[in-house]
C-alpha cells in the first residue's frame, strides 16, 4: 500500500532534489538515475490488486481518489520505469541538455496515470505530464525552431486535454462519480440505449489520446517536437510517452465488447473499424513522410508514430490476438525504438549534427553503436529472430483473421516502407564514406557500451523467448474478459493462423550463419583495402580532389519516389493546423483594432453596449 504512494513520492522527491542541484550536472544525473532505480525497487514489491485510496474534499463533494494496480498498469509501469533506468544510466555520461527534474516529474505523472482509479487524478497527472514534457522540450536546442516545436506540442496537447476535460465532466455529470471503473461500467450499461451518446463522450477522450500518441490526423506535432527536444529526452518521449495514449485507449476499448449489435464491417463494430483505419493510415502516413526526411530525429519521430499506428490498429480490434499483438508490439517498440534512439543520441553527441546527409561511414569509428543500431532497425523492420518480428507477425494475423485485407495491405506497405527509411538512415549515418571531419570521433563511453550491449541482448532475448512478455500480456487479456491465447512454452508465439517456434528459427539461422562463415573462410583470401580504394571508373581520386563527402550518396536517397508519393505529400494536415492558427491570429489582429487608443471610441463602445442592452431589455419587457 505504501509502496504505491512511494511510486509517486520517490520521483517527486528526486525531482525536487534534482531541481536544487541542477547546476552540478553529474550529481543531477546520478540523482535521476538513482531515483529511477529506487522506483524500480519499490515496483518489484508491488503485486496486481494492490490498492490505495484517499478522499479529497473538493468542489463540495468528497471525492474518492485512489491508486490501483491492474495487470495492464503493472505492465506499463515496468515498461516505463525499466526503460527509464536504462535511459538515465545511459545519460550518466552523455552531455544532454535534458533537465532531469522535469524527467522525474514526468515519471511521477506517468506512474500516477497508470495507477489512477479516478478521472480527477488521471486528468491531474495527465496535465502534469503534459507541462513537464513541454518545459523539457523547451530546453532543447534553444532556438526559434525548438520553441515552435514545443509550442506546437503544447497547443495540440492542451487542446487534447481540454477535450478530455469536457469528456470527463460530461461523464461525471451523468454518473455523479469520477471513478473510472464506475463511469466505464455506466457507459457499458447505456451502450445499447444511447450508443451515439457514448461514442460522443468517448471520442472526446480519444482526441486526447490520439494527440498524445500522435495518431493521424493529430500526428503533425510529432516531427517538430521530436526534432527539437533535448537529445536525452527524445528516447523517453518516443518510447514511453507515446504509450500513454495507448493506455488511455485501453481504458475505453472494453466498451466495444458490448457493441456487437451496432452495425459493423466484417463482423467488427464500426467504431473499432474506424479506429483500425486510423491506425493503418497513421502507419502509412508516418512511413511515407519518413521517406523524405534528412533530419535523423525527425525521421525516427515519423517512425515512432508509424509504429503507434500499428499498435492502435491491433488493439482496436479488441480480439484476444489483436490485443496481445498490440501490447506485444508496444513492448517491442519500446525496446527497439529505445535502441535506435539511444544510438542516434550517441551519434549526435559525438558528431554534433542531426542532418544525416552530413554523416556517413561511422561504423568504422563506433562499431558497437553500429551493431546496436543494426539490431534495432532489424527489429523495427520485423526481421526474425529479433524482437519485433513476433508482434508484427501477430498484428498481420489479427488483422487478416477479421478479413481486413485492405488495412492489412496498408500496414504491410508501411512495414516495407519502414524497411526503406530504416535502410536509408542506416546507410546515411553508419555506412558509406567516412568524412575526414569525423577522423577523431570515438566510440561512446563504457557506460554507453554497457547500455548498448544490454539492449542488443534484450532485443535478441525477447526475440527468441517471447513467452516472457506474452505471459503477462495474457493475464492482461484475461483481465479484460477475453480468452487469452494458448501458450505452449516460452519460445512459442501462437498466432491465429499458425504458430512459430522462435528457438528453432534462431537455431536454423545460427547454423546457417556458421555455414556461411565456414564458406567465407574456405574460399579464396581477400585483401583489406581502405575506403579511398574504390571503383571510380579509372579516375584516380587524388588527381580528382575527391573527398569522402563527395563520394557519399545519401542526400535525397529516394529522389525518384518523389513523383510517386507527391500525392500523399499534398495532403497537408499540418497545413490545416497551421492555417487554423494563422486564421486565429488574423482574427486576433482584427479584434485588437477595437482598442484603438481613442477615448471617444471607447465611449462609443460603452454607450453602444448600453443602448443594445436597453433595446434588449425593451424587447423582453
Amino acid at each position: 500500500m505504501s509502496s504505491l504512494l512511494a511510486l509517486l513520492l520517490v520521483p517527486v522527491t528526486g525531482s525536487i532534489v534534482a531541481a536544487i542541484i541542477q547546476r552540478y550536472r553529474l550529481a543531477e544525473r546520478l540523482v535521476s538515475f538513482s531515483t529511477f532505480v529506487v522506483t524500480l525497487l519499490f515496483l518489484i514489491d508491488i503485486r496486481v490488486g494492490d490498492a490505495f485510496t484517499w478522499s479529497l474534499g473538493f468542489l463540495g463533494k468528497n471525492i474518492e481518489m485512489g491508486l490501483q494496480i491492474t495487470p495492464l498498469s503493472i505492465f506499463m509501469l515496468y515498461m516505463t520505469i525499466a526503460f527509464g533506468v536504462l535511459l538515465t544510466f545511459f545519460d550518466l555520461t552523455e552531455r544532454s541538455k535534458m533537465k532531469s527534474f522535469l524527467l522525474l516529474l514526468t515519471l511521477a505523472a506517468s506512474n500516477w496515470i497508470f495507477m489512477a482509479t479516478d478521472f480527477l487524478s488521471f486528468f491531474f497527472a495527465w496535465e502534469l505530464m503534459g507541462w513537464a514534457s513541454i518545459l523539457a522540450i523547451f530546453g532543447g536546442r534553444r532556438t526559434a525552431e525548438s520553441r515552435h516545436g514545443a509550442l506546437y506540442y503544447a497547443m495540440m496537447s492542451i487542446g487534447g486535454s481540454y477535450s478530455m476535460l469536457i469528456g470527463i465532466f460530461l461523464l461525471s455529470n451523468l454518473t455523479g462519480s469520477f471513478s473510472i471503473q464506475q463511469n466505464v461500467s455506466y457507459l457499458v450499461s447505456i451502450m445499447t440505449v444511447h450508443p451515439w451518446w457514448v461514442l460522443g463522450i468517448v471520442s472526446m477522450f480519444f482526441v486526447a489520446f490520439m494527440v498524445k500518441s500522435g495518431i493521424f490526423p493529430f500526428h503533425t506535432w510529432v516531427p517538430y517536437t521530436y526534432g527539437e527536444s533535448p537529445d536525452g529526452f527524445v528516447p523517453y518521449l518516443s518510447s514511453v510517452m507515446s504509450k500513454y495514449g495507448i493506455y488511455g485507449f485501453l481504458i475505453f476499448l472494453p466498451l466495444t465488447l458490448s457493441l456487437r449489435n451496432v452495425p459493423g464491417v466484417l463482423g467488427l463494430p464500426w467504431p473499432n473499424y474506424t479506429l483500425v483505419w486510423f491506425g493503418s493510415i497513421t502507419a502509412v502516413v508516418g512511413s511515407v513522410l519518413a521517406f523524405m526526411q534528412d533530419d535523423v530525429k525527425k525521421l525516427f519521430a515519423y517512425s515512432s508514430f508509424s509504429n503507434l499506428g500499428f499498435i492502435l490498429a491491433a488493439i482496436a480490434l479488441f480480439t484476444p490476438i489483436g490485443l496481445t499483438a498490440g501490447l506485444f508490439h508496444a513492448f517491442n517498440h519500446l525496446l527497439f525504438n529505445g535502441a535506435i534512439f539511444i544510438t542516434v543520441v550517441a551519434v549526435i553527441s559525438k558528431v554534433g549534427i542531426t542532418r544525416m546527409s552530413e554523416m556517413g561511414g561511422l561504423w568504422q569509428k563506433m562499431p558497437l553503436t553500429f551493431l546496436t543500431f543494426f539490431v534495432g532497425i532489424a527489429s523495427a523492420a520485423g526481421i526474425p529472430p529479433f524482437a519485433g518480428f513476433g508482434s508484427k507477425w501477430m498484428i498481420f494475423q489479427a488483422m487478416i483473421s477479421h478479413g481486413l485485407i485492405f488495412a492489412t495491405v496498408l500496414l504491410f506497405f508501411a512495414s516495407i516502407a519502414s524497411f526503406l527509411y530504416l535502410m536509408r538512415a542506416f546507410h546515411a549515418i553508419f555506412l558509406g564514406q567516412l568524412s575526414h571531419k569525423y577522423d577523431n570521433v570515438k566510440e561512446i563511453s563504457a557506460i554507453g557500451k554497457i547500455t548498448e550491449v544490454f539492449l542488443i541482448g534484450a532485443l535478441i532475448f525477447f526475440g527468441i523467448f517471447p513467452g516472457f512478455i506474452l505471459d503477462p500480456i495474457n493475464s492482461i487479456v484475461g483481465s479484460f474478459g477475453l480468452k487469452p491465447l494458448p501458450t505452449s512454452g516460452y519460445e512459442y508465439i501462437n498466432g491465429f493462423f499458425s504458430s512459430v517456434n522462435m528457438v528453432s528459427i534462431f537455431i536454423v539461422v545460427i547454423v546457417a550463419f556458421i555455414f556461411g562463415f565456414l564458406l567465407f573462410a574456405v574460399s579464396a583470401k581477400h585483401k583489406k583495402v581502405p575506403q579511398e580504394d574504390n571503383y571510380t571508373a579509372g579516375q584516380i581520386p587524388k588527381d580528382w580532389n575527391l573527398t569522402p563527402e563527395m563520394y557519399q550518396f545519401s542526400y535525397d536517397f529516394y529522389e525518384p519516389m518523389d513523383k510517386e508519393i507527391a500525392p500523399f505529400l499534398k495532403i497537408k494536415i499540418d497545413g490545416f493546423f497551421k492555417g487554423f492558427g494563422d486564421s486565429v491570429e488574423y482574427l486576433g489582429s482584427s479584434i485588437k483594432e477595437i482598442f484603438t487608443g481613442n477615448v471617444q471610441i471607447y465611449t462609443y463602445l460603452a454607450i453602444g453596449g448600453l443602448v443594445i442592452f436597453v433595446i434588449a431589455g425593451w424587447i423582453v419587457w
Binding site: T596, G597, N598, V599, Q600, T603, Y604, I607
Partner: protein, 124 residues
Amino acid sequence: MIDFLQNWIYLTGAMALVGIGLYIVLTNTNILRIIVGLNIVDSGTNLFIVTIAWHPKSVMPIYTATNNLVVDGHVVAADPLPQSLVLTAIVIGLGTTALALAIAVKIYQKYGTLDVRKIKEEDK
C-alpha cells in the same frame, strides 16, 4: 414611495442634460470640452437625484403643527435622503473634475496638445 414621474419637466431636463453631456463627450476631441461634457452629465445626474425626492403635491419632511405628512394614508412628505445624496454626488463630481483638469494640464505639458486624436497619434 414617491410618484416622481409627475415631475416630467425636470426629468426631461435631467435626461436632456445627460444626453447633451454625452453628446459633447462623444463629438468633441478637445480634452477640456470632454471634461465639460462629463460635468454636464454630472449635473444631469444631480438634477435627477433631486427630482426623485418630491412631486408637486409633496410637503417638506418636517413635522410641524400645520404640516401634514400623511394624507389619506399616503405619505406626502418630500424625501429628505436624496438631498444628502446629491451633496455627496456633487462633491465627488467636483473631485473628479479637479483631477481631470490636473491631468489635462499635465497632458498639455507633455504632449503640447489637448486633442485626443493627436494624443493617440503621438502615442504610436
